[in-house]
């Protein structure tokens, strides 16, 4: 089974700090076996399906082969062993920034929907006109939305601030929660699906 693995810079497990064996030219990395005492996750190696990616963003993205019986978690898959096959070169700091910016734009769009619904024409117009996280941040700071939609409006600003700070994973989280605040929990799932599709398309990942 082919899946994806986000690692911290230097090929380190983001939680375990385990140094994953990296592939060499023409050869995959060595198998990493769960339960060997080297991993915090005692009984499985964890990886992502494409739809799981937005939850786990780190500096490096790798394609991985999973061995043994693969089971599914909420937003991950688990296997007894895994090895790295290749780095997904398209995922770098610039791509992460584009993704964070896109998520800030999505949070803006959800906030605009909320503003339109309560007839807050001026804050909606100001926010709709924003093309960048910097503009969104400024518009939110200047805006005076009705109390009923103040939180969604603020969340759009928060997503922009986190995108500007390079925290794409947080911008994605805020965008999903902004969607939920405006249109309920199904909208959160839809937003996460949009994020997954963005990453899958941008990085040309297998579905």
């Amino acid at each position: 089974v082919i899946a994806y693995k986000f690692l911290a810079a230097g090929g380190l497990g983001p939680f375990s700090r385990y140094p994953w064996p990296l592939p060499r030219p023409g050869a995959p990395g060595a198998w990493v076996v769960a339960g060997g005492g080297a991993l915090v996750c005692h009984d499985a190696v964890h990886a992502c399906r494409p739809g799981d990616l937005p939850w786990w963003l780190q500096e490096e993205l790798w394609e991985a082969e999973l061995g043994g019986t693969v089971t599914s978690g909420r937003h991950k898959v688990m296997a007894p062993r895994a090895r790295l096959l290749r780095r997904v070169d398209g995922w770098d700091a610039a791509c992460a920034q584009r993704f964070g910016d896109a998520c800030a734009g999505r949070a803006r769009d959800h906030a605009v929907v909320a503003l339109d619904r309560v007839g807050a024409a001026e804050p909606a117009r100001a926010l709709r006109a924003c093309a960048t996280p910097r503009e969104i941040r400024a518009a939110v700071r200047a805006g005076r939305p009705p109390e009923a939609v103040r939180i969604a409006h603020t969340m759009a600003g928060d997503a922009a601030i986190r995108a500007l700070g390079g925290a794409a994973v947080v911008a994605a989280y805020i965008a999903a929660h902004t969607a939920a605040r405006v249109d309920g929990e199904p909208a959160m799932a839809a937003e996460r699906a949009w994020q997954s599709d963005w990453l899958r398309t941008e990085l040309r990942l297998d579905a």
Binding site: H42, W56, L57, R74, H177, E185
Partner: protein
Amino acid sequence: VSFDEIVCREFAEIATDYLDAALPDATLELVEEHLAMCDWCRDYLGQIEATSSALARTAAASPPPATLDALVSAFRHRPKEGPR
């Protein structure tokens, strides 16, 4: 709207269980989802690890039994519910 996820206050309650690998799988997934995007909790976890490591290097001195009992009792009866 409710979500199946944890927030920082809840993570603080179970941070040591996480470090001890004592969390059930379902909770572990929630914790790591949270840690993946919360730099504040990652910092907190680092502080707990550093404190634990430093204490482990100090001379082991057991408190008197009565003090130990009082501490354990207070810990077990600490309030676990509250505003997030």
